[in-house]
Subunit: 150 residues, 2 copies
DNA sequence: TTAACATGTAACCGAAGCAGTTACATAGTT
DNA sequence: AACTATGTAACTGCTTCGGTTACATGTTAA
């Protein structure tokens, strides 16, 4: 599929913010710092944060020493929320050109496909809804802890 | 999502071939004729047929007056078969650049995401598997029959 | 055997989307 | 007022897609 990586970036960003750093170095969540963890450019992070902010998942201001915050508990942000926030469209696309409406098959097939795609998409979304940012963070940290057994 | 229309084209092609034209004009299934129904270029159809043939869903030769055929009943070809035949990859992608392995979050997040994506993708595929080409054809024809009520 | 027909495939085009980057105006803090 | 970080525009290189032309190859029918 075509597929961009915005979903992955957005989840990473949220998990990074969700991680409680009060014990460590009191690192404020800036696009710069997050970009280091994601290994990309700060602007890419700002674009992601912009979408997440528009969706009401995070909040932040321009001032110094501010830092981004989640607007609610990480356990209450699902990957479906993120999926919608980053504006991912449909998984399947119909051809731009409409089929031959004179053809027995062509006449209605786009509508039929659209319905089928809707069901498939819904199944996908239902699965995304079962996972939260808290889940992702927990699993990621678990992997970090159990590393270095190599 | 990125999203191409190959899936849609392939399903259209299969439904077109599945439609029994013995009663009508005995139209042989050529890339040219199918292209008319799909409203695209014959080469696009040939590319699709090439993938479907490689997947063993259709068969055809170069000769004249041959025509493409399904290798099995339309009721036994699922949209999941088609999905795999057209080589659609994963719905979600991870960033090309690996995250910062020193970061508590970055270290394991790609693996975590990959697992989640796998589950979501599986849900999608399960839904596609429930629909066959025969289903699509039946529904499309039903729409054709009940048209012109406008 | 030969003419007709249809496929397979390479090659190219324009359009679109994406990630990355630079640059800079703007806004909020200290 | 100085500092800091965001928001955003603009540009780049890369990739993919659908569409198109062109042509060699293979198969059938006459």
């Amino acid at each position: 599929m075509s597929t961009n990586s915005r979903m992955s970036v957005a989840v990473h960003v949220l998990a990074w913010i969700a991680y409680d750093r009060r014990g460590t170095d009191k690192e404020i969540a800036t696009s710069e710092r997050i970009a280091t963890s994601v290994n990309t450019n700060p602007v890419v992070i700002r674009r992601a944060l912009g979408q997440l902010k528009a969706a009401g998942l995070v909040d932040g201001s321009r001032g110094r020493l501010t830092g981004w915050e989640l607007t609610r508990d990480a356990a209450r942000i699902t990957l479906l929320d993120v999926y919608r926030a980053v504006g991912e469209g449909e998984v399947f696309a119909l051809p731009a050109a409409p089929p031959d409406a004179e053809c027995y098959v062509g006449y209605g097939i786009h509508d039929v496909l659209a319905g089928t795609y809707r069901n498939a998409q819904q199944a996908l979304c239902a699965e995304l809804e079962r996972v939260t940012i808290a889940d992702v963070l927990r699993d990621a940290l678990a992997r970090y802890e159990s590393r270095s057994l190599a």
